[in-house]
Symmetry: none
Subunit: 121 residues, 4 copies
DNA sequence: GTGGTCTAGACCACT
DNA sequence: GTGGTCTAGACCACG
């Protein structure tokens, strides 16, 4: 499964976001082992170094842990994961609000747009 | 007034976005004259080339018009402006929904968060 | 000036430590521009990518700032620098104490050794 | 008792250091028998190969001796142990001084910090 | 086999 | 010219 990447964001970032999403959403659970750097690199159709960087980034965010020679695992620190979910969501919401406000929309209007999207689209 | 820029987005983009926002929001109205490239460059604390590119970009989006020797003006084509407002807004909303969904949130939840933000904080 | 590196610690780490030291010691001051990645790479006799990584690390520590196309600068946030100095020093001291204690030395003895080093050696 | 290891130092090294500490401190005395490789491996939650290497390392440092079929014992050569204690301590002290000096601290300041730690905290 | 470091060289966007 | 990304491939220490 080679992936398709947006061209305006670095590949490694997109992969970080993807894996974060998997963890937050719960399709990757605490303690789960991630594929090896090389496996994942092949699977995603990127260079091993790029994947390496992804893993490093994840570890710096404290959402994975590395056990030498054994692999990379989703942290068992559930607090951290809850925190991650919360801060990621808040970040999205706030930047959404900020951007919409700078276009002159009120929060009431934002809610209305979302509601219309929910029903119809 | 040197500005502070996000480091992950090109400066010229941020300036484009900023001016677009001003126009959409109405603090810049159809027919209004924008500062000269050089003035604005100084004001924003930016290289003149960068500002040049901003103006070029705005013109390509058909939201400004350049009159030789007189300066750059917000287009009087109100349809285009309405359109811009709409497409910008829809882009924001859709990417917001997309990102939130990839975190496992439903549209219902998104609305709730926005509502809580509206009341509280 | 090609440098000599310890072999048990990654080169990029040693360079990070070196530059941190320069900043903490004050031989690099807030606002100072660091050499370009490529210049420094040549000077230190390492690959440009390695140097790149060093700069990235420094930026993540919030002790340098990058201005696109202009270069990398020591942060002007003096608080952060003072904090860095303090936390680095405390880290050293605490790990020193910890290691010495695990050899059965008391803090009194540590001080005595240091005092003897100060006078004679 | 699975142990927690620093991630920047090899596990086997940390175990060597730990046991050295026990010996230097005297909680393991000359002539004492160490657990078998397998026992210790289980106890520490470590691969048996890793533990094997630890024991090999200790023997190469001349601070343990292996008697075939009987096990591994702390050497009875007390001179060697005293020497070990001394060289370990000097190593720590010198690298401490070196690191602190490269941060711009004088030996006088180091002593003061240690003294404050002794009284306070 | 695992993660990690380093090199060498290409290419890109931004200023 | 600046920082940044990506590839390709080698090599290492660890478990």
């Amino acid at each position: 499964m080679t992936m398709d990447f947006m061209k305006d964001k670095p590949i490694y970032q997109q992969l970080v976001d993807l894996i974060c999403g998997d963890i937050i959403r719960g399709s990757l659970k605490p303690g789960d082992r991630l594929p090896s750097v090389r496996e994942y690199a092949v699977e995603a159709g990127v260079n091993a170094n790029t994947m390496q960087r992804v893993y490093k980034e994840l570890e710096q965010m404290d959402i994975t842990e590395t056990k030498r020679g054994q692999g990379t695992f989703v942290t068992e620190n559930r607090e951290r994961l809850a925190e991650l979910r919360e801060e990621t969501m808040l970040g999205l919401v706030e930047s959404f609000i900020h951007n919409m406000e700078s276009l002159g929309f009120t929060q009431r209007e934002m809610i209305e747009v979302l509601q219309s999207k929910e029903r119809g689209e």
